[in-house]
Structures are given as structure tokens and as C-alpha cells.
Symmetry: C2
Subunit: 437 residues, 2 copies
């Protein structure tokens, strides 16, 4: 892609309400545009990054055997009345009347709808366990939407649901998701800490939130530093290893302000291991047994033929929120560097262009075509502006690797730079090796 | 995927309102489930097919230089008041009041919102032409939703928008989309005929709808059979060739009932060339100049520095509707055969299983693992039921190729069948070659 053709409308004058760095950066680099309070359009640059995050989330859901489907955004109020949440949910639920006066709503979450899908189709323990998920837009009518995509009204979320015959089986499903979440965040190059959490309006008695550490995070985090040392990759994908994994994590102290008690912290964590920092919630998992299946009559025949309420859990990851969270975690000292796995481009070529000399641009185009042939997704900055402005701009766009075609590039050797590192002079072959590693 | 694990809740008792074959088949094979009138959940089988269609639409948009973005589902009424359509649109628009009493709506289309994105960012002719698109859920509050996903309330649509300086340039963009649509439908193995159309609530004076021929279609189609003989692949991707392509199509008579006049048909089409059949609209493109840019003040500096309203077109493909349309076109004589490009699986292995003999199942699993290694997406029917039921079921699920492990398969040679054809005995290597061709 040539930068001059990319629809990337940058904003110079930031609105005063853009107070946190992800909100500022995403507006400044034309990743998003607000269409009304708390509602955003995703422009090509931001869209591409969000899609890459979505794809990683999808692959990690598929790899634990979850099946993808898609529920609609607009739901009938009927099922919410069955579960008892229609009145409880409050004003954050966007309530709608259709042209015939029927009460509808824009789904803030999908426990009721998936239970309705399930009860009409699965009747026997033989079809269990089941893990189903979808990635769909949700709406919460926030009274004070703020922080850009971090607390907005219309947001993109992966929510999964597990169905099991017994509590014991259900906790195996819970552990699988726990594992999948750790893998997902690690592929996004984020350090996510699972923390015991309150269950709020979803309900249940077992719940973890996954919090990534970022100085500008919304929650205070109190943890034993040992929790950062657990490597999720040592666990195998079987029930006993996954149980051990959850136990290993849960026995180490790590909470947000919600659950923080000073005396516990001091009693349970050695002074030199105490970490107090900030974090951002990016995922939340719940086990709630028959909280929905019982009132909604979602019954399964067990082995003896007796009907029993299916045991359920739900598992959310905020996909659009993660875009902002990655910026909060990775944007430091005026430089944004996207993790390789979700960068909008693999590399950007930055030629020094002057009116009377198109040689650098021609060189750049040659390299561009060469890299494209190798399936490297490359951005070419063909805009006619001075190099110092270009570098400032690319410090914000955040493509992690740059090929700079200026005075230091000679013959078939080019200046190659990884953001936040010194540049080096490399042959194109060596650059390709670096990009593909 | 093992069939016993796939979440594919089949429906035996069809609701009486399921009158057309796509609605019936999609319910029967567990592709969709209705959640409320005109609103559906897409279950794994249906979801997978829809995603494949979406991906083909995306690739063909990208290949003409359109850039993907994503606008939200919920829009403010303000921009619709600016364009003048808020009052005009009628009851099909789902109108919503948020908790603060602000008038919002669930977008039925996005001309206003994209114009708003564009006017705040692009100021100069130098940034033109631009082609932007998104694939997003839309809502139309149909008074009588029916025909399953063919006329439902919440539907998935690709809508693209073009921006140009002059009428002349805008028509070049229009022709590119025209070309892209022909390519898209041809990759879906559909014969789509472009027909001059009325513009309805979108507006403008140049418009084509793309209609695929299906006996059960909603519109009557009157055409000269010569239109079926034009091969879009002979045109090159440049302005003059694309103009010739549109002219070649438009000079041959082809209309739906909306524009049909008997005397024209008889005058313009030789008796022996007259075709009268049925069709389904799957795409619609519009050129409407400054219908939105003028009232919404979306201005561009032209070369002389004069401000002028940008010239726009819009281009829609019904992605969720296409799933149903493909069924209408391809489901005949009780056999559904998905086009290879969008089939939910490349091949299904059907072993004859009996209680005391697991040999066929073991053979099937071996082939399954072998094909998986070759990146062939394979379904294994491990359900314990008789072969005649299995064949009936797979005639509906519609995977186009079958490997049957029964009495005819011997040693390393297996019965291989393409739906609607005779089976043959082939070695596994030859089967792989067939599947990959």
C-alpha cells in the first residue's frame, strides 16, 4: 500500500475529552473517528489492527475446540424476562420498541440467547461438552462514555459459552478457557494476569478477570511478583495439567482494588515481592452453573435418563477494547510500536524524496515490489515531506520495522531500523530474513 | 471435524412459514435458528458458509483498490436530518431513543455516515478517487419478514462508497464496481445478470441490480439470451475496457418486472431469444452524484481551488442473503451441492459403521488425518446410523465430494463420489488430486 492512497485521515486538533494516550493516538493516526458520543467508525488503519486481534482470538478459541457461530445484535426482551435480568439490567441496556410495539433490546451480552439456542437443540449428555462462541458487536448505553474505545457504547467482543453435565466437567471447560486466554494475550505480546474477580450482573461463584499491566490502567493492581514468573507454556492441554495451571495462578496473591485488603496483602506477600501498579481488564470468565439454564428450563438427560439443568459458564474478551489496551501498554516516550503479530504492516519503506530527485522513490518502489512478491505486507511512504516529519509520523503509526532510503543507503545495502533501536545497514536479503523471523 | 462433535442441530418439524427451499434447507441442516421474527442466529455450518462468501466479496473489493473500514450499527439521527432522509425513510427504519432521550437509529444503509466521515477528513481533489467499503450488520424493520434470510430484519451486507471529483471520474468508479460484482458472483459459481434498475430511496439516475437466475426467485426476469453469453473475463481492468464492458451488457435487453414493458420486449428481442424466468437480486449499485454531498456540505477543492460537492456512488451486496440465494440456485431434486469455493468442508468421509465392526471407522480416521495434513478441510461422519440415512443427510448438508468407506472400497482404493454424479473407485492419491484441482 502506498501511504498517499491509504485512507488515513490524521487529526491534528485533538478534542479536549481525549485524555488518555490510546484515545489520543487512535484519533491522531486516523485509526478511528467518533460518529456520536461513545460510538466510533473504524478507519482502515484501526480496522486492520482490530481484525488481526480478532483473528488471533479466533484461532485460540478454535484450538481448544470451541465452535464459532454468530448471534444477532437485536434480541427479544422475552428471554431476558425468563432469566429475570430484564428488569435488573438497568439503564445501560439499550431498549428498543419495533414498529409493532414489541420490546426488543441491543444485546449487551448473550447468556440468555445462547441458552435459548441450546435448549431447543441439545437434549442428551452425549452431545456434551459443548463450547460455542461468537464475535459480535454489543451495546451498553454508558451514561458517560469516555477514554475512546476503552469505555464506549458500541463495542466488539468475543463471548464464549460452555455447556456441561456436571460441576466437575464444567470446571474443566473453565480451565480450558483460562488456558486459551493466557495463550491469546501472549500472542498479542501482552502480559495478562488472571485475578479472582467479583461476578457482577453475570452471576456465579467462580470468576477471573485478565488484567494487563499498563501505567495508565483504570484499576489499581496489587500482586506478588511471583505471578509474573509463571510460564503458561509449560502446561499441557489435558485436564489435570490445566487444573494445576489454574491452581498455580490462583494461589499467588493478585487482585485489583475491588478485592484489595491491605492486611491480606501484607500478610500473604513478602514486602520485597509486593507490586503495586495499574492495569486494564481485557477479559473476564465466569462459571455460574445453572443460573440461566434453571429459570430458562434448559434441560439435559443424564446417563440415567434423569433431566438436569445444564451447567454453564461464559467467557468474554473485549476485541475493540484490546486495540486501545495494546496502545496503553506499548506507547511510551512518544513512540508507538505495534507487536509484530498485529501490526498494520510488516514494514514501512521511507524514501527521502525531493522535488528534483526521484531516484530514492524509484529505489523504494523496486524494494516494495520485491517484498510484496515475498508476501510481506509493506507500506511505502511516497508522501513528499521532509524526513524529520516522516519519522515523527511513523513513530505514531507504529509499524515496527523501517527501511530508510536516504544518505546511508548505498547500492544494495539499506538502512534498516526497528523502532526503539539503532538502525543498521543491511542487504535486502538480510532484511527479508529479519522480517520473516 | 467429526460430525458427532459439530454443533449442527437439525430441525425435523419445519415451521409452516418456511415456504421456500432455502428457508427449509437452512433450518433442516441447522445452519440458522430463528431468535425472533426475522432475526436469526447463524449456527456453525451456516456461519462458515457465510464467512466464505464474505471473504470472496472482500477479496474482490480489495482487488479493485477499495479499502475496508467499519462503521457502527447505531447512528445518530442528526446526519439523516441533514440529508433529508430521516422523515422520508418511513417505518422500516428502526428508531431508538437512548437513555438521555437522543434520537438514534439502527443503520439500514450508510450514505450519510460515510459522507460525514469523508467531509471531516478529505479536502482536496489530490486525495481522489477514493473507494471505501465495510461489511456490517444492517436492520430494516420489515412489516412482514419472510423467506428466512432472504427477507429478514437483521442482515449482513457489504456496502461500498465511491468519491470522485467529476461525473466522468465517478462513472469510472462505477464501472470498476460493476466489474468487481461480476467477478464476485462468478467466484460464487452464480450467473448474475446486471439489469438497469430504479433507484428507490437511495436516489440518483444510474443504477444496476445484479440478479441471479433461480426458478424460485422473487422477481420475474425478461431477457435476451445473448446476455448470458457475455464473458466478463475478456475485459481488462482499465477505464476504456470497463466502459465497453458496461456498454456491452447494457445494450442487451434484460429487466425485472419493475421495468418490464411487453411492447419493448417484443420489439427489441427476437422471439427465439426471449427468455422469461425468475431471479433473485443479490447486489445493487447506484450513482447519485451530489445527492448527499450537497445537503451535507461535503466539499472538495478542485484544481483551480474552487470548492465543489464530491460525486458519490454506493454499491451493495447482501452477504447473508447470498447464502439463501445460493441455495435457491443450487438446491435441486432433493440434493444441495455447495459450490467448491464456499462449501463448509472440502470433502466428507462416510464410513459404514456397525456395532461390532469398527474397521471402516478406523480406516476413515486414517484417511481423515492424512487429508488434514494436506490442509484439506474434511468432515468425518462418525455417527452410528445406517448408510441410507447418512446419504440422505449429506444430500442436504451439501459437501460436494464424498469418500465412502463401505463394500466397494478395497485396500487403498476408495469409493469417491461427486454429488449429482456416479461414484468411482480411486486411490487416495488420485482423490487428493481431484480435491485439490
Amino acid at each position: 500500500m502506498y501511504l498517499s492512497k491509504l485512507f488515513i485521515p490524521t487529526t491534528k486538533d485533538l478534542p479536549t475529552e481525549a485524555k488518555i494516550k490510546s484515545h489520543q493516538l487512535m484519533l491522531r493516526t486516523g485509526m478511528i473517528k467518533q460518529s456520536s458520543a461513545g460510538i466510533y467508525s473504524w478507519l482502515p488503519l484501526g480496522f486492520k489492527i482490530m481484525k488481526k486481534i480478532e483473528q488471533i482470538v479466533r484461532e485460540e478459541q478454535n484450538s481448544i475446540g470451541a465452535q464459532e457461530m454468530l448471534m444477532p445484535t437485536i434480541q427479544s426482551s422475552e428471554i431476558w424476562k425468563e432469566s429475570g435480568r430484564y428488569d435488573d439490567y438497568g439503564e445501560e441496556m439499550l431498549r428498543i420498541k419495533d414498529r409493532q410495539g414489541r420490546e426488543m433490546l441491543y444485546g449487551p451480552t448473550n447468556e440468555e440467547l445462547i441458552t435459548d439456542v441450546f435448549r431447543s437443540s441439545v437434549k442428551s449428555y452425549k452431545s456434551l461438552p459443548q463450547l460455542l462462541y461468537h464475535i459480535q458487536w454489543k451495546f451498553r448505553d454508558e451514561i458517560r462514555p469516555r477514554f475512546g474505545v476503552m469505555r464506549c457504547k458500541e463495542f466488539y467482543m468475543k463471548d464464549a459459552y460452555s455447556f456441561d453435565l456436571s460441576d466437575e466437567d464444567a470446571k474443566k471447560s473453565y480451565n480450558k478457557m483460562f488456558y486459551s486466554y493466557l495463550k491469546t494475550f501472549s500472542r498479542l505480546n501482552l502480559k495478562a494476569i488472571p485475578m479472582a474477580a467479583d461476578t457482577g450482573p453475570i452471576g456465579g461463584d467462580l470468576s477471573h478477570e485478565f488484567v494487563i499491566i499498563a501505567e495508565t490502567g483504570e484499576s489499581d493492581v496489587y500482586a506478588d511478583k511471583k505471578i509474573f514468573e509463571i510460564d503458561p507454556n509449560v502446561y499441557k492441554f489435558n485436564d489435570s495439567s490445566l487444573l494445576k495451571m489454574r491452581e498455580d495462578f490462583t494461589k499467588i496473591y493478585a487482585v485489583t482494588d475491588e478485592k484489595f485488603k491491605k492486611e491480606d496483602f501484607n500478610k500473604l506477600v513478602k514486602k520485597e515481592n509486593q507490586i503495586i501498579t495499574k492495569g486494564i481488564e481485557v477479559g473476564h470468565i465466569f462459571y455460574f452453573g445453572d443460573k440461566y439454564s434453571k429459570p430458562m428450563n434448559c434441560l439435559i438427560d443424564d446417563k440415567s435418563g434423569k433431566k438436569t439443568s445444564v451447567k454453564m459458564g461464559s467467557y468474554g474478551i473485549g476485541v475493540s477494547r484490546l486495540v486501545g489496551a495494546v496502545v496503553e501498554a506499548k506507547y511510551n516516550s512518544s513512540v508507538m510500536k505495534w507487536p509484530k503479530s498485529i501490526s498494520p504492516f510488516d514494514v514501512v519503506i521511507i524514501p527521502s524524496i525531493s522535488k528534483n530527485n526521484k531516484e530514492n522513490l524509484e529505489k523504494a518502489e523496486k524494494i516494495y515490489n520485491d517484498l510484496k512478491k515475498q508476501n510481506i505486507d509493506v507500506l511505502l511512504d511516497d508522501v513528499d515531506e521532509n524526513m524529520s516529519n516522516k519519522f515523527k509520523k511513523h513513530d505514531l503509526i507504529g509499524v515496527p520495522f523501517q527501511i530508510i532510503i536516504g544518505s546511508k543507503s548505498k547500492g544494495n545495502n539499506f538502512e534498516f531500523k526497528e523502532l526503539n533501536s539503532e538502525s543498521e545497514i543491511l542487504s535486502l536479503d538480510n532484511i527479508k530474513i529479519k522480517l520473516k523471523s
